[in-house]
Amino acid sequence: MTNTTNNKTLPRKEVRRSAWTYVFFHHCAQNYERMMGLAFGHTLAKPLCLLYPDKEEYKKALQRHTQFFNTEPTVGAIIPGIVLGLEEGRAKGEEVTEELIVGTKNALMGPFAGIGDSLIGAVYQTIIASIAIGLSSDGSVLGPLFFLVFYAGVCVALKYGLFMKGYDLGLNAVKMITPRITEIATTALGIIGLVTVGGIAANTVNVPIKYEYVSGELVVSMQEILDKIMPGILPLCLTVGIWYLYSRKNWSAIKALLTLIVLVFLLVLLGIM
């Protein structure tokens, strides 16, 4: 990678603005294809513009940060922070490769989603809601107020705080990086990222087949046959197949998407799905 050396450090004000952008907009265009991916790009768009005066570099940065991203948004707020710190290091010409940044992002989003969903979604929300219900069981407005302050309020504070903390973490990590560490960390993070992303895909991609062959007493379910080969074989093949068409056969994502919709519609009409 050629470095457009740029000694500008991001003003603290810009980092804070980016954190608030995240807090307000991190779920705006949420969708099944990329989940919070576009919002991630939105969060970093402004600071990246300052970091990369070179138009080509800025383009690439925007493209790598509008890809699939999904995590539990409260605890996971640390991830865009870390990524911003790493990007600043890269912009300054440190040995931070594109792969290292993308790898870090991919490797962190799964575990933080797991931790966040159980900590914030299940445990913390349940505790706060239980207390609020108790406070309001006689019709008092204390419960909703308590809930707003200790759930919504705490979540805002956590998101902002963790984003800023992540930024500092990312900046500090950059200081330790040498070309060798970059190479090793890129390999390691690539592996961790791919394995966890594979796991997330296993939980999210689902190809339901309802076709059953019926002949008298005999009922053969296609899904059962597929499951006997290996549970999840269809979604796995489908994901790898789309990857192949998209990245090696130059299919556009829109083409893949429309093909999928038409295919599913036909299969639904045929009674297979």
């Binding site: 969708n31 939105h42 809601a129 963790l162 990590a173 594979g198 796991g199 639904v268």
Partner: protein, 296 residues
């Protein structure tokens, strides 16, 4: 899911004809409030103040109680609905039931009609399922916006990327405000009528495409990580997929496992140099730093 007959709640729409429903301006305010509570809306500190704040039944019903001039019954309906959803997590894609529909149609009609807690609870479950259908519809259709973002990113226009993200809330605004307002003004039968208009294969297609379409997102992500000549790395993706699908591994366990795998790989590939290299300490320190991040 789409064919639930809402018989037990039709009586509320009848009550509307008997003059027990709510005024249009009240229905509009409920619609707006309901929109503020959708996961995607940026108002009130984004998700935190909306989905985690206003949309929570105990908060929403209190506000609607104030709106209908009966705070006490608002709070009580809110408490009942909140208790119903206690411990129900709503992670990313898969919601068991949608709080929004239960709250902003079931809860509001119960408060306005004076039906109280029982009416609200009777409405909550079937409406929650309808809400899930609408949520899935949006999660599928909204896949349009990242492609708008792709074009903006390819032009190197960060403002347009931001705009695409924000525009992603516009259809949400139009559809949710309309449905919530109409349902509150006309009664629940309206929502059922809406779903009846769409032919069953279209609904089924939307629901199934919603389950498959993440595959496109993962394919795009893998393009980034698996560069040309590194196709063998697909094996790692398959490994994570197979482990989660066929064992009881969850993502955090899988992440820890993959750290071990990465260490093995790195040792096998660079191990020889590592034992003689001065950077060993630095690398270990770096690895330790990664572990700290998982503890956060």
């Amino acid at each position: 899911m789409y064919y639930i007959k809402l018989t037990e709640i039709v009586y509320i729409s009848r009550k509307r004809k008997e003059g027990m429903g709510m005024a249009l301006w009240q229905a509009l305010l409920v619609g707006l409030l309901g929109y503020f509570g959708v996961n995607r809306t940026p108002w009130f500190f984004g998700q935190a103040g909306g989905f985690f704040g206003i949309a929570q039944p105990i908060v929403a019903c209190t506000i609607m109680g104030i709106l209908f001039g009966d705070v006490q019954s608002g709070v009580l309906v809110g408490v009942a609905l909140q208790a119903l959803y206690l411990g129900v997590i709503q992670p990313g894609g898969a919601l068991p039931s949608d709080k929004g529909f239960a709250t902003f149609i079931g809860g509001s009609l119960a408060i306005a009609s004076g039906g109280g807690v029982e009416a609200a609870l009777a409405l909550a479950v079937p409406l929650g399922l309808l809400g899930v259908a609408l949520f899935q519809f949006f999660m599928t259709v909204n896949a349009y916006f990242p492609h708008m973002g792709d074009r903006a990113a390819a032009e190197g226009d960060g403002n347009k990327v931001a705009m695409a993200n924000v525009l992603g809330t516009v259809p949400t605004f139009v559809v949710y405000v309309t449905i919530y307002t109409m349902a509150n003004y006309l009664g629940v039968g309206f929502v059922q009528g809406l779903l009846d208009i769409l032919p069953a294969p279209v609904l089924a297609t939307l629901s199934i495409v919603g389950k498959i379409v993440p595959a496109v997102g993962f394919a795009m992500l893998m393009k980034y990580v698996i560069t040309k000549g590194k196709e063998w790395m697909l094996g790692f993706f398959a490994m994570g997929f197979v482990l989660v699908k066929n064992t009881s591994f969850n993502i955090v366990a899988l992440a820890l496992f993959s750290i071990g795998l990465a260490i093995m790989f790195v040792m096998a590939r660079y191990g020889k140099d590592l034992s003689t290299d001065q950077t060993v300490a630095a690398i270990i320190a770096e690895g330790g730093d990664d572990d700290d991040e998982y503890d956060e």
